[in-house]
């Protein structure tokens, strides 16, 4: 009786076949609703920085280097691919791609940097007098750019004195 059951087991095992994916040698497409890394389209972006304000990881940074040019930088290292930036973008300039093969030995490889034209006041050419919503956020301490040293600084609200660990989070440019 046990011999017959062994034979039956062998037949079941032969029927199972091979289940292992040949993945790194053959591509495997992502499923339908998968969200991979976001792709920014510079020709559509109007530089409203809505994505930067909605990013829960504070991963999209905005820097105004002069009157006319704003730099939008996606660092990508903390990104959780939640898709909020693509959701909030009024011009649909951000698309969540299905690209998941982002493993790298240099974390700066997944950065994306956009140089955007910003229009100034048509009359005087200067910026507006009232602080923009972005500058109001800056005043509240969400983000701050160190222009002299050319680097990005997050001003964290969880700042405590005498704690080196919870110091401000510095993000170098490259």
């Amino acid at each position: 009786m046990s011999f017959i059951s062994k034979i039956r087991e062998t037949l079941i095992c032969l029927k199972a076949g091979r289940v292992t994916l040949p993945y790194p040698y053959q591509p495997r497409p992502a499923p339908e609703k998968f969200r991979g890394r976001p792709i920014f389209d510079a020709s559509k972006c109007i530089g409203c920085a809505g994505c930067a304000n909605n990013c829960p990881a504070r991963e999209i940074l905005v820097l105004d280097i002069c009157q006319e040019i704003r730099i939008l930088k996606y660092l990508g290292r903390r990104c959780t691919y939640c898709g909020r930036c693509a959701d909030v973008c009024p011009e649909n300039a951000i698309t969540m791609s299905k690209d998941y093969e982002t493993a790298t030995n240099n974390i700066a490889d997944i950065q994306q940097k956009l140089e955007l034209f910003m229009s100034t006041c048509q009359r005087c050419g200067r910026c507006f007098k009232e602080p923009s919503p972005l500058e109001q956020l800056k005043l509240k301490g969400y983000r701050f750019d160190d222009l002299a040293n050319e680097r990005w600084i997050f001003k964290s609200k969880s700042y405590l004195d005498n704690f080196k660990v919870s110091d401000d989070i510095h993000i170098e440019l490259d």
Binding site: D41, A57, R78, A103, N105, K113, V165
Partner: protein, 178 residues
């Protein structure tokens, strides 16, 4: 150069130690998923070991926290050299979305040197396999930093040459952008 060095230093199986320093367990499940017969990382010779003293590779998940950073550093120092470290998930790569909390130090590269980064929250099992295959020289890297520049302003500015007459009213040519 680094890859050739790695291939020379690790000619045989990689033994993997699996360290979670305060993640949410999502990446751990994906790492265990890679070891199942469906993805089968053991065909590359990857084996999970329980002690860092047996391991060549440390898979780190979760950010470096104030409570676990010292233990992570000790586990790294217990590994025999040469050793490589994989940062799996966006917490290990960049600190996660709670990067500025008081108990989170940040990415694990502040504690231990990281050789390979696998971003994702959590990364797919294929992405982890891809990272391992990248370290072993089986596939090529696919991401490069991109710099994009605008050629022209996407919204219409006041340019009189862009005005066209349409039904007794001047409108912009590029009006459909707004």
């Amino acid at each position: 150069m680094f890859r050739n060095f790695l291939l020379k230093m690790f000619p045989r199986s990689l033994w993997v130690y699996h360290a979670n320093s305060g993640g949410c367990n999502g990446c751990d499940i994906e790492v265990l998923n890679v070891l199942t017969p469906y993805y089968d990382a053991e065909r590359f010779g990857i084996k999970l070991v329980a002690s860092p003293r047996h391991a060549d590779v440390m898979l780190c998940q979760g950010p470096a926290m104030r409570s676990t950073a010292a233990a992570l550093k000790r586990a790294y120092e217990a590994m025999p050299s040469p050793k490589i470290v994989f940062a799996i998930g966006s917490c290990a790569c960049g600190g996660g979305i709670w990067h500025d909390l008081y108990n989170v130090i940040g990415p694990i590269e502040r504690i231990v040197p990281v050789s390979y980064y696998i971003p994702g929250c959590p990364p797919r099992p294929e992405a982890i396999l891809y990272g391992v295959a990248l370290a072993m020289g089986l596939v090529d890297k696919k991401v490069i930093p991109t710099n994009l520049k605008q050629e022209e302003l996407p919204i219409p500015r006041y340019h009189p040459e862009d005005l066209i007459q349409q039904e007794s009213m001047p409108v912009y040519k590029k009006l459909e952008k707004v």
